[in-house]
């Protein structure tokens, strides 16, 4: 099923190990700063996700890489070459558009063949490669249809095949799953991941769906207000978010304000001292916030860090039970895995102690606007 060969390995003497390098990239529209001086290295063969709320600049960043928007400042390097000022047709990247943008007047075959024809591929070679592209996305045999005869999911796959047959250095995906229904979207997420493994091309995928990013990407770039908040693997971002925005955007976090009192201790608002990893504090002093994920908290003590509180709400949702516990340091959400019968022990009004390990604690700066 290796329908499309892996991206060419670097030639001898070629030093670029990054497929994309963004250096101080900025885009200003009139007086709005859409992208604010971001720098990013994308290693070859990785599946990158640009994740952030709408208006965070992720699509603008993608469009600048594709050549559809001119940066106001900064550099874009593709494979070590500065592509500033080059039109889209001179860049070795291909894009899957959110609206798919299939050519309505051309057959599926001609749609997929469009890029190959521009490179002078003709005859048997053309037919073979278009056939391989359609096979890769599981749609062989639809060559003679027109785009409007296909379902949304099929059109999406054709758009993918049309881009991939050109074997670009990088494939850019602009929220390509946004128009699909939930079930199809889940299917396509796994499908995209499979295809990326198969072809080995670097993918840069823009999305506002954190679950989608975590499912597919091996590197996530979290963007907010035109800046990059944090770059890392899904587990790095989840376990050790560096900003309160990342902690809140990716999953649920309990953030408790406190003051640094030692090189591995923070005193919470109610006077309780908790231990945090030395490296999480990273030389901070003064006011900070400590964070714990809801599933890392235990009902009952027996841990290094403890906090007393009263259960104010509980909700049984099958796989786990969710509690909201009021503590003097603030309200805390707790998920208890229902891994045995009767695990959901506490009821609203119960007074109990929460415990958690210092390893599961992260520290972020106090949010400026809170």
């Amino acid at each position: 099923m290796t329908a499309i060969e892996a991206a060419p390995t670097p030639r001898r003497g070629e030093v670029a190990e990054y497929d994309i390098r963004l250096i101080g990239l900025t885009k200003r529209f009139e007086d709005v700063v859409a992208v604010d001086g971001i720098s990013l290295d994308v290693e070859r063969g990785r599946f990158f996700a640009l994740l952030g709320p709408s208006g965070c600049g992720k699509t603008t960043t993608l469009r600048m890489i594709g050549g559809f928007e001119e940066p106001t400042a900064g550099r874009i390097e593709l494979g070590g070459v500065d592509v500033g000022g080059l039109p889209p047709y001179r860049r070795d990247v291909n894009t899957v558009f959110q609206s798919y943008a299939l050519f309505p007047h051309l057959s599926i075959f001609e749609n997929v063949a469009f890029g190959l024809r521009r490179r002078g591929v003709r005859g048997d070679e053309l037919r073979r490669r278009v056939g391989e592209g359609l096979e890769l996305v599981g749609l062989a045999g639809l060559e003679r249809r027109k785009p409007r005869q296909l379902s949304g999911g099929q059109q999406q796959r054709i758009a993918l095949a049309r881009a991939l047959v050109n074997r670009p250095r990088v494939l850019l995906l602009d929220e390509p799953l946004g128009a699909l229904d939930l079930k199809l979207r889940k299917e396509m997420q796994l499908e995209l991941k499979r295809i990326q493994h198969e072809v080995g091309i670097t993918f840069v995928h823009v999305t506002h769906d954190q679950e989608e990013a975590m499912t597919m990407a091996d590197r996530i770039v979290i963007m907010n207000e035109g800046r990059i908040e944090q770059v890392g693997t899904p587990s790095e971002l989840y376990e050790s978010p560096r900003t309160s925005f990342v902690a809140g955007f990716l999953g649920v976090s309990n953030l408790l304000p406190g003051t640094v009192v030692g090189d591995d201790r923070v005193r919470l608002a109610d006077g309780t001292e908790v231990h945090v990893p030395r490296e999480a504090l990273a030389g901070r002093s003064g006011a900070v916030q400590i964070g714990v994920r809801p599933e890392k908290l235990r009902l009952g003590g027996g841990e290094v860090n403890t906090l007393a509180g009263v259960v104010s709400e509980s909700a049984y949702i099958g796989v786990s039970t969710q509690y909201i516990v009021d503590t003097p340091a603030g309200a805390v959400t707790v998920y208890v895995q229902n891994d045995r019968r009767g695990a959901e022990g506490a009821a609203p009004g119960d007074r109990l102690t929460l415990g958690w390990s210092p390893d599961c604690t992260f520290v972020v700066d106090v949010q400026e606007d809170s």
Binding site: P87, P88, Y89, F103, R118, R148, A163
Partner: protein, 282 residues
Amino acid sequence: MTATTATVELPRRPAAAARAWRLVRRHLLDVYALLALAYLFLPIGVVVAFSFNNPLGRFNFTWQGFTLRNWAHPLDYPGLGSAIQVSLEIAFLSSLVATVLGTMIALALVRYRFRGSGATNLLIFVPMTTPEIVMGASLLTLFLNWRIPQGFGTILIAHVMFNISYVVVTVRARLVGFDRHLEEAAMDLGANELVTFWRVTLPLIAPGILAAALLAFALSIDDFVITYFNAGTTTTFPLFVWGAARVAVPPQINVIGTAIFVIAIAAMLANVLLQSRRARRA
């Protein structure tokens, strides 16, 4: 309205009257439609019928008898053939030039904001709204002042001028709903600006351009007022008919008129058939 009230007041109306009323109500729209169509097509019917007339004198005004002679010799009248040729040449050239220029103007107006684009958007309607008689007279003044001899060239310039407006408006309507991502996708796949235009933009707006060209052709071939002012000694088909009418109305005029009508209807039918076949295949 009054009828419904009457029904309420007289619930036991005789059955025959009720049936008659139902009949009228059911067919009122049909009758109205037939009358409206008759109003539209009667004059054309007369034109067609009199193309088969065998007039006694020079004026084809009263029905004398049926003949196919006029159709056998459609150009058998001095000057008629050359007038038709001039009309066809001007219609072809002016619609071609106006379509090319108008399409480019429409593209510029829809795609770009530039100094004067708002004014151009408004001014493009001026030739459509100015009375033809005013435009014809003004053009003549212009040509006289610039000492440009009237003739084929001035007719062509005048026709291109008023045709451009119609082309711009028609093509612009097609462009407004155009998905710009399609052009970006083409460029993303390696097509430069020119190839993108030929392979993606042009095929997608072609129906609009074709409609604009046909409209321009139709407007040009039967224009009289503006042509009359700027023709010099050149004679187009409408000018010929006008001139001939003072001394004679040969049935050949009806033959040519009928032929143009039939060709137009045939072209329309062909277009409808083509569209429906394409729709069925899709």
